[in-house]
């Protein structure tokens, strides 16, 4: 089994409410996966369970061949699972550049031996990443003053800075204009070149169809479809869930 991410029988309850019910999910290295579903279908819960912000009672999450079900979030990102947040969460009191220094200092050491990069190395790495997402000019600005789309780019840049193997982009385009959606989409499409698999959670179907090699559909905590984007969209169950009867 050479899946990068392997989720099996994942169940999450909040009190009596079952948010995820025995969900299985596989992601191959470098794969581009679209995860869709109506509001409240459990997408965000799944993201939180995989990234480690929520503890799961049942089921198993394996990554890169290791069971990581009981690891806290900061150890999961050290192993290579990065995420962006639906509502951007910048470190608001520091500069854009310093935002990237946090994962560069804390998330990458685990896989590269014990030696820690110097301050100068961290800075140059941060600038290189900012350059690749088009934020180099904003490096010294305070992150709280960024525009919506730049805030989203910072969110992605910070995730890239952790040098992940898997990036979970949680609605990275919500609320953006059509041209801004394309900018973010381009960034996500470039991840493959960096060897990063991406799970894209999105409501904007145009972006999902353009991006995904495979699409998974969650409805009310169940996985109802998993496969080729065009076949999944044609699936009557999916249409029912999205359009109603």
């Amino acid at each position: 089994m050479n899946d990068l991410l392997h989720v099996q029988g994942l169940t999450k309850r909040f009190g009596g409410f079952v948010a995820l019910d025995r969900v299985d999910l596989q992601v191959a290295p470098g794969e581009r996966l679209g995860l869709i579903g109506p509001n409240g279908s459990g997408k965000s819960t799944l993201v939180n369970c995989v990234s480690g912000l929520l503890r799961t009672e049942e089921g198993q999450v394996s990554f890169d061949g290791h069971d990581i079900s009981s690891l806290p979030a900061h150890q999961r990102i050290q192993r290579g699972i990065a995420r962006s947040f639906q509502i951007p969460k910048p470190f608001a009191s520091v500069s854009v550049l310093d935002n990237l220094c946090v994962p560069l200092l804390y998330a990458t050491g685990h896989r590269e031996g014990s030696h820690r990069p110097s301050e100068a190395q961290v800075r140059s790495q941060a600038i290189a990443i900012l350059d690749s997402v088009g934020l180099a000019q904003r490096a010294d600005e305070m992150s709280s003053g960024l525009t919506q789309v730049d805030m989203r780019k910072l969110e992605l840049a910070r995730a890239i800075a952790a040098r992940p193997l898997l990036l979970i982009a949680d609605e990275a385009m919500a609320g953006l204009s059509s041209s801004e959606v394309d900018e973010i989409l381009q960034l996500l499409l470039q991840m493959k070149a960096r060897g990063i698999a991406v799970i894209m959670i999105e409501h904007i179907m145009r972006a999902v169809m353009q991006f995904s090699e495979r699409v998974v559909v969650l409805v009310a905590g169940h996985k109802v479809a998993d496969g080729n984007p065009h076949e999944v969209i044609a699936n009557p169950d999916v249409q029912k869930a999205y359009l109603g009867e």
Partner: protein, 317 residues
């Protein structure tokens, strides 16, 4: 400036202050300066958790009193050298910091703040009921007759020790601020979830922060029994320590080591003056009003004005 260079300069400044002060004849100066320096340590300590990490501690008096009472108990039992009491008191308070952190750091910031207050009052109740340490009546500490290192009076010796402890606290704060640890703490302050998801082991860092901060507060208390020679629980747990420890960094600015230092020196000196000229109730009123005034109107404190001025100058050039 590198840490080693900063530490050397700070130490030199401290030694100069100690040597220079010996020309001052009036012993009252040393009493006042001791108090100001005590506040320098307390507010620097508070700021490591409050300013750098974003967790409000209302229990400064509790940690401070742990340092005070560990010295009293050690002194009664063994008469050890001052250095031993300083180290032990610091460790005891640091341990209390870890314990409190472990119990409450999984909770939201609000609850942590309330829990710190709870800890202070719990400790107060225990000390009040602990007869060996003097109980509610208080404990006398006989100040040693012979003064070490050839100082003219014991208070001059205590003042010099306090200068060195302040220097050490400031150096620690600056090292933390500019280190990997400091970046992690700042990330926690800004957004704890995002910090965790950027690889920051938030729980561990918060425990380090509470230990450092609590330990330094205890440090500030270790020499206190020899300063006032009679300690009672009401005095050792006085809320004024808690308020000052918050007000001074707020007024000075909470993001750098310089803020608490400026706040402590300014506010500490003003209080010494008001205490002599008017009354101690009035000086507490001033502290309260300044705290509320700054926190509502100038949340970045005096250093905030400095930064704004620097930014304006940078833009012009």
């Amino acid at each position: 400036m590198s840490n080693a260079r900063f530490a050397t300069i700070a130490l030199l400044a401290g030694v100069l202050l100690i040597v220079g002060a010996q020309w001052i004849q009036n012993d009252y100066f040393f009493n006042a300066a001791y108090t100001v320096l005590m506040y320098v340590i307390l507010s620097t300590a508070w700021n490591i958790l409050g300013g750098y990490t974003g967790y409000v501690n209302f229990g400064t008096a509790g940690f401070f009193a742990l340092g005070v009472y560990s010295s009293i108990v050690l002194w009664k039992a063994f008469h050890p050298p001052l250095a031993v009491m300083i180290v032990v008191g610091t460790l005891v308070a640091a341990l209390a910091g870890v314990g409190l952190g472990y119990l409450t750091m999984r909770l939201r910031g609000h609850f942590f703040a309330i829990a710190t207050l709870a800890l202070a009052i719990m400790l107060f109740t225990f000390v009040t009921n602990w007869d060996y340490a003097g109980g509610a009546r208080g404990a006398y500490v006989i100040v040693p007759r012979e003064v070490p290192f050839g100082f003219a009076r014991y208070i001059r010796y205590l003042f010099s020790v306090m200068v060195l402890l302040s220097v050490a606290s400031i150096v620690v704060a600056r090292v933390v601020e500019r280190s990997r640890l400091g970046r992690g703490l700042a990330a926690i302050r800004d957004d704890e979830l995002a910090a965790e998801c950027a690889g920051v082991p938030t729980l561990k860092l918060k425990l380090i922060s509470t230990a450092l901060s609590g330990g330094m507060m205890g440090l500030a208390g270790t020499t206190f029994p020899f300063f006032i020679s009679f300690v009672e629980p009401v005095g050792a747990f006085d809320l004024r320590y808690a308020v000052n420890a918050i007000a001074m960094p707020v007024i000075g600015g909470m993001t750098t080591w310089l803020g608490p230092l400026i706040g402590a020196v300014l506010l500490g000196t003003v209080q010494q003056l008001v205490q002599v000229t008017i009354s101690s109730a009035w000086n507490l009123l001033i502290v309260g009003l300044l705290l509320v005034g700054f926190v509502t109107m100038a949340p970045e404190g005096i250093m905030g004005w400095v930064f704004a001025w620097r930014r304006r100058r940078a833009r012009r050039s």
